[in-house]
Symmetry: C2
Amino acid sequence: MKPYLKLDPWNIVEEDFQPHLHEISESIFSIGNGYMGQRANFEESYSGPSLQGSYMAGVYYPDKTRVGWWKNGYPEYFAKVLNSTNWIGIDIAVDGQPLDLASCKVTDFTRVLNMKEGTLSRAFTAEFEGGKKIRVDAIRFVSMARQEIGAIRYAVTPLNFDGILTVTPYLDGDVQNRDANYDEKFWVEVAKEFGERDAALTVKTKKLDFHLTSVMAFEVAKNGEAVKLETEQVEKEKYVGFRAQIEAAANEQVVVYKYAANVTSRDHGLGQLIEAGRAALRSALEAGFETLYREQVQAWADKWRDSDIVIEGDVAAQQAIRFNIFQLNQTYTGEDDRLNIGPKGFTGEKYGGSTYWDTEAYCLPFYLSTADSSIARNLLIYRYKHLEKAKENARKLGFAKGALYPMVTMNGEECHNEWEITFEEIHRNGAIAYAIYNYVNYTGDIDYLGQYGLEVLAEISRFWEERVNYVAAKDQYMMLGVTGPNEYENNVNNNWYTNRIAAWTLEYTLEVLDYLRENEPSRYRELIDKLELTEAETSKWKDIIAKMYYPFDDERQIFLQQDGFLDKDLTPVKELDPVHLPLNQNWSWDRILRSAYIKQADVLQGLFFLGDRYDLETKKRNFDFYEPLTVHESSLSPCVHSIIACELGYREKAYEMYLRTSRLDLDNYNNDTEDGCHITSMAGTWMSVVYGFGGLKVQDGVLRLNPFNPGHWTSFSFKVMFRGSRLKVTVGEHDVIVANESETAAEVSVYGKKHTVHGLSHVKIEHALQG
Amino acid sequence: MKPYLKLDPWNIVEEDFQPHLHEISESIFSIGNGYMGQRANFEESYSGPSLQGSYMAGVYYPDKTRVGWWKNGYPEYFAKVLNSTNWIGIDIAVDGQPLDLASCKVTDFTRVLNMKEGTLSRAFTAEFEGGKKIRVDAIRFVSMARQEIGAIRYAVTPLNFDGILTVTPYLDGDVQNRDANYDEKFWVEVAKEFGERDAALTVKTKKLDFHLTSVMAFEVAKNGEAVKLETEQVEKEKYVGFRAQIEAAANEQVVVYKYAANVTSRDHGLGQLIEAGRAALRSALEAGFETLYREQVQAWADKWRDSDIVIEGDVAAQQAIRFNIFQLNQTYTGEDDRLNIGPKGFTGEKYGGSTYWDTEAYCLPFYLSTADSSIARNLLIYRYKHLEKAKENARKLGFAKGALYPMVTMNGEECHNEWEITFEEIHRNGAIAYAIYNYVNYTGDIDYLGQYGLEVLAEISRFWEERVNYVAAKDQYMMLGVTGPNEYENNVNNNWYTNRIAAWTLEYTLEVLDYLRENEPSRYRELIDKLELTEAETSKWKDIIAKMYYPFDDERQIFLQQDGFLDKDLTPVKELDPVHLPLNQNWSWDRILRSAYIKQADVLQGLFFLGDRYDLETKKRNFDFYEPLTVHESSLSPCVHSIIACELGYREKAYEMYLRTSRLDLDNYNNDTEDGCHITSMAGTWMSVVYGFGGLKVQDGVLRLNPFNPGHWTSFSFKVMFRGSRLKVTVGEHDVIVANESETAAEVSVYGKKHTVHGLSHVKIEHALQG
């Protein structure tokens, strides 16, 4: 597909209405506020192809599992991200002719996602059959300041006629999920209520009884003056609306303001829903559109203050990185520890679930560095709260003890059903353990270990203890039948990454136990009792650490991704005829599996996580072996390769890898953006810049930077929050400036040399690495 | 489940109507004639749980594939065995009260499957609400002599009242498959036609346009005298019937004879269907029920003459082995080379498809030994006809040349969709090659090789050539990412069986090429041209044969099922707490996969096929290692273990293995007989007796026997057809009698010593092996 969006540092801009691209734009122009969000569907009716999507975080549907061949252990349902009541709807008719961009002639169309301010706007001229023309200017946002509130300003101007406008703002709960397994509708109506100024619709899910109440009100102004109108109530199954008629002369602008509050039974008692919705709506109405808008701009300014990356000299790169950051901030704000980061955020319904290992492996670093540490902590608490379900999951799969976190989940229960992933991609447990280390290492919040961390670590360690297999003949522990991060291998024995992260978990758990014994003895005893942790268990863990088997090739001195990897045909990707790429669209599954081609960083993922433990030569040998075999058909892969390439000084390769993710959705590289954006991989893009080009690491409580300018940019800068300080790191052509934008002094090591950066001051360091 | 069927040498007898067992009985009491068949559904309406099943061989439905996660290479459809027009239906009402065994009180119930004669009969007394009682005696069969004809004699006797019987014989095409993927009905109506004496219904499948015309007629007799009746035509969507009323006094027997012809567009032109059906029906009517019945008895007598096994001193074993033979003869008669042996035959719809590797690996020996060699030949021709589709299948999976036969098929196209089986269980190709060898070796029909065999062998060899992987570092060929016969391992490297059967295929193909070059030089040249077979290819095959890698354990001197097998926990099955068994009901899939437990003979399957090439010590070492790890959760497993155990002199083990299959369905061991019977494994049971206890082998054109009496029987005998002679081998307590029932003299080797058995005479040999 030819890129069709205009380059701009702060905005995503579409300048022509192309119906065949509309679903892609619906994904890209999505807006959200962590609590709710939606695709860029039109307010007025649209009869062309469109994927309707309005989502409430944490509200999902357990759709009955669909499989070809059932396997013991499969879950009964798949938790679907749930398309919910359409609250943006405003039907427009001009002298009885409905506005529908699929049938009108559309000119002067623009759609703008203003990332700086968090608004979606659209303007166009529509010509109806018969020749009447109107101009529409619409803007809307979901409020970052008031999570339950959305607001729309929808202006219509007759251009070449005087006539009657009919406007019908409505709430419509009669919606569907496109990927429902059995084409069911998931919502049923509970109640409809009309107030003097508002209309409320309550619907609930057929299963689990999630209730959603939407309340809306609207106001109309003509030429800047409020207009009082007769309104007619419109009522249908799962639908409430108002209909009003306004006379408008040519060039008179009629503005409809629509406000909606969406409240759910996740936050309010069932009996309080309507009142809660009305109260939120009332307060929004009192504030009015301008105030809500100003709040929005301010809330986003705060986000950007903490997380912006500026790239000078490359507007495409600038736009792309901001788009990634913008989507991450829209998807998860960290205020609710029951929520997580869905693979498509609020931009689509595909893949379901809200939580994959992506959160711990890729997203956590972004939130650690760009938001208060409580946000990242909430991501950890989320898993802590699911610990009991993870234990149940392990029991269900036949383990006598320990916890296996699900591959995909909404509420802690597994909802994925493909044996080679669901049952075998157990390395996810390692990433969840690693995230605890990562969080504590970054923030210094060592209290977390005694409060929550150890329990999760111990139960994961128990899982590994039972999952490994002692091979007496070799006096070694092995792990059979797993799928590693590289999903282009299934059911392999001794995936290096999985064995390594398992043994690492045991090491870290023992280390945490030692720490607690020494430093928090009473909490330590409490936890030992609670966990019923025995000496026999920890001894066994030590034995496993000592005798874990790691596949290794003596000749090449590299870790082997798994047993037998070298028996494969090792022809590098670049010697493959490109007609075969991407493999996942051109090769049958068995061919992919028996090839050496790697979907996603696997050994390198381990070398990234445990980077401190491996020297550069080891990383180099493994990178040189695996990178030529990697096809990066997971959006989560290039960032890890980019970061290691930076460390190895492979700058061109690092930049090439960076480019593969940064505009993935904006340029629809994978030809699937219409399903939604690749939210979690956006955190990988951020990591490529900050961990890769910025060379960020935290060791022994010190923030270390090793930045270089990849050479395609005049300069770039990024923000890092670290233990109370907020730093802006600017990497120019010749020097690096670390500016402390907070009042808390920070110790920073740049190119291995420590600097103290006092509050509201900066240090400037000559480049040590030449780009 | 407690066994509920009465033991009897020739009959399957159920003496009590137990509705909760009805679906199991519907499977077990199924009747068929190779062309059509049906479950033992009742003629009269029955509102209790029942799986309706009436099947026409080769008439199937391509049901849209259902999967959880699509993989490239999956087929678009799964070919379903198709439940077709119910032609047995006869509704009965007594003074307006419908007969329905779910609501009447049923006494004196018997259901009998007469295996000797090929009939299903049923008798019962039914008491209606209000107290009226009738006696019903029903018998039906599908004619072995006239494949399109079925006949029913349904007698009703009022016992304690004079009243009006209403009988409604009908044809009902408004039927469903229980395992339809999307709950669709597969048939639509084409035409209904009433003649003077008959009614015809033509339906066609929604896809593929299979047409089925059923034509029925009925006659009524009272007290043995034909009765002329007023009949009313009954017509509904996809339904035609007649309704008639008969006065019957107490103890007057009213007999309804119903005849049906079922003809399909597989055998007749679309325009000729009704006429073909009527002609067949007319001829059946002219013959009348008694004649049709006599023909049936005679046809089955011929079957039994050729295939019976007699076991003296153990009626349960006698009944079981006859049941297995009966079902095999019902399922496939070999007259139509477009047909094959479905996993459930005509006894159920589950699993779909008609052809698995079961046919070549397990069923072929039965038909080779118990029927004219043209029957087995037709099974081979079936695959020959599918060669082009098998080549397409290989192309679809990315192979530049060669043929990969489907895992499951109806028409030659793959219709299975589970990657680890569909794409990886490629050993099936080896079984298809082996069947050619087996057939030629058994029958001596060496002309088959030039006519058909070589083409199949060469294309399969080409597949193996491309599928193996040359590992330069080891100078060996390997085969990565396969699933062997043991489906409790998936995606393994170097499954010994698969590597071995692949290399064997290449060897045999080269041998056949040599034979043809020497003996049929002009046909040889024709085939080389047709196949465009090059010297480079055959050289490569030789190289692969020479350098194929076979996993082997030096210490134990055993073949390894696959790379890494010895890294598993090798605790034998008998040390496992039996609560875990069967594993497939108690363990999650990953646990099964990483265990060493074997579903089905794998290495041993290879040692069975290629038994001539391995000495007894090798077989013993491998058997001793693998048998204790085998759970036999495939019905196809125990027969192979039984046969090898016989060879090794492990007689108790052999008998134990035999018992596991012989009454599998009669005693519903696997708790799934309600879905249908395990037809293909019945051939394995037959093999256990003839190849196992009988020790049958054919080497160098000589039939070799090495029989022993397993010791639980007074004696046993089996029939073997071999190169024109028909032998009956009786194994008594002290001797073996080989009787030649044909006029063709036979050379037979018994216990390694050759005997000539002249036509219509016998030889008697003392036991060499003591039981």
